[in-house]
Amino acid sequence: AVFSGAVDDDFFEELEDALICADVGVNSSLQLVDVLRKRAKKDHIKERQELWQVMQEEITAMLTAGGDGEIVIEPDKLNILVLTGVNGAGKTTTIGKLAALYTGQGKKVLLAAADTFRAAAAEQLATWAERAGVSCIRQEEGADPAAVVYDAIQAAQARHVDVLLVDTAGRLQNKTNLMNELSKIGRVIDNNAAEAHTEKLLVLDAGIGQNAISQARLFGEAVELTGLILTKLDGTAKGGAVIGIVNESGLPVKMIGVGEKTEDLRPFQPADFAAALFN
């Protein structure tokens, strides 16, 4: 509806409002509106519909600036995927989905229950392991998460596992001790699985507003992130905050969660995402 009719001042205001309502944030919204304003002027565009294409292209360009969004699983070596993020974002569930995905591709998968803090965290992951028919390395509640990761790496190497999926405890980015714990997990992997291909993924709930920017920044300082996973896109939230994040960090969105079931995981399609912002 924003993109039908003539290009006028109202249009740019409506566009800014629509972007803000999609959690794109004030700065990124103004940036995008500015790009469109300049294009409209330069190409003498009179119809809003013509700018729709430009908008999608511009957002897609912003989202793919950091490189293509694929989780790389290299053949003939150990691949370690660490999922991190704030409390309740969907890390454990996403690992369950990934376990099924890679097992379905004939890969040998192992899970590591490195959330040793939250009530029934290991049990929750164990259920997902069972569903995928894979093993799960766990220790008792309160154990050092880095120790679980260390054990899991030893097991993965000994068993010639293709994909090791590491679940971590939810943590708020302003908790320095928890960020330090995360850095330690990162070091354990770097020091004990140097030959492995490692992905460190930040799981973001699509419903989060501008705090997502702070999450990406501070988690990125604790561990070198390789990508983002955006969950709960089956809800009414648009997840627009990722635009600002990708713009700032260059981190690509690799996958999206669109539900609570095993099959509800898809590769990220920037063009579809851009279009959906205005639904």
């Binding site: 704030v86 409390n87 309740g88 009530a119 419903g207 507003g209 705090n211 702070s214």
Partner: protein, 292 residues
């Protein structure tokens, strides 16, 4: 922060001589941006700024010696007024047990908050009973049972093969026969657009007639907060809000949005992962937080 920005704007404007209404409008744009950056809903921010303008013009901010300070004062007062009074009181049913139904989106903090509220009640000498009515999420029942064990609070469960409505009914019967004065029912997270699951909540409500229906909201929610709150409120008539994860660094504008759209009091705030991480809601602290 906003106070500094407004001081600077008005300082520049004052240099031009008398302030006009247009100058006030320009300054209020800064207030709107601050609110949007704090995740206050777009429409709530718009209405709020219109209200501030009314007061600014009505109180002749233009004639003030310190217009920036005066606008900040008005904004702060209006925010506090909008967010409602400090409220840690749960309503009590005339016919015990008082039933409290915990609802909200996936991962918002319902299970943890159920246990926190139960512990808070126990600390007040009450005898709460927790009910595990999430039969969908893997190990959800176990999670509540572990929290129950940690706090010495009984957890009623019928496993995950019995409907949440039936679990709620039997939990109520259990609470009545064991003399529990509070029954806190933990439910599965759900999207407000999932008709079937929203109907499940109305069915639970019809079955056990809760005195409190608490919408658990993650403080870092963005613009979608209004959609979620409006839908839950329309379907169930929410009686209170629990705002979680306020120990994070989010500005928490969702608090304003949810309050503005439902009119429900924010009864508790989650300020940590541990079970003692529960506080009453302080509107003045929330106001300064939202304004950065």
């Amino acid at each position: 922060n906003l106070a500094d920005k407004l001081q600077n704007i008005f300082a520049k404007l004052k240099g031009k001589g008398r302030l006009s209404e247009a100058d006030v409008t320009a300054a209020l744009r800064e207030v709107r941006v601050a609110l949007l950056e704090a995740d206050v809903s777009y429409k709530v921010a718009k209405d709020f700024v219109a209200r501030i303008k009314e007061r600014a013009v009505g109180e002749d901010v233009m004639k003030s010696l310190t217009p920036g300070q005066q606008v900040v004062k008005i904004v702060n007062e209006e925010l506090i007024a909008l967010m409602g009074p400090e409220q840690a009181k749960l309503k009590v049913s005339s016919k015990p047990p008082t039933v409290v139904l915990m609802v909200g989106l996936q991962g918002s903090g319902k299970t943890t908050s159920s246990a926190k509220i139960a512990l808070y009640l126990k600390g007040q000498g009450k005898r709460p009973l927790l009910a595990a009515a999430d039969i969908y999420r893997p190990a959800a029942i176990k999670q509540l049972q572990v929290l129950g064990e940690k706090t010495g609070i009984p957890v009623f469960s019928l496993g995950d093969q019995v409907s949440p409505v039936e679990i709620s009914k039997q939990a109520l019967a259990e609470a009545q026969s064991h003399g529990n004065d509070y029954l806190i029912i933990d439910t599965a997270g759900r999207l407000q657009i999932n008709e079937e699951l929203m109907n499940e909540l109305s069915d639970i409500r019809a079955a056990v007639n809760p005195t409190e229906i608490l919408l658990v909201v993650d403080a870092m929610l963005g613009q979608d907060a209004v959609n979620v709150a409006a839908a839950f409120h329309e379907k169930l008539t929410v009686s209170g809000i629990v705002l979680t994860k306020l120990d994070g660094d989010t500005r928490g504008g969702a608090a304003l949005s949810v309050k503005a759209v439902t009119g429900c009091p924010i009864k508790f705030t989650g300020i940590g992962e541990k079970l003692d991480g529960l506080e009453p809601f302080y509107p003045d602290r929330m106001a300064s937080r939202i304004l950065g």
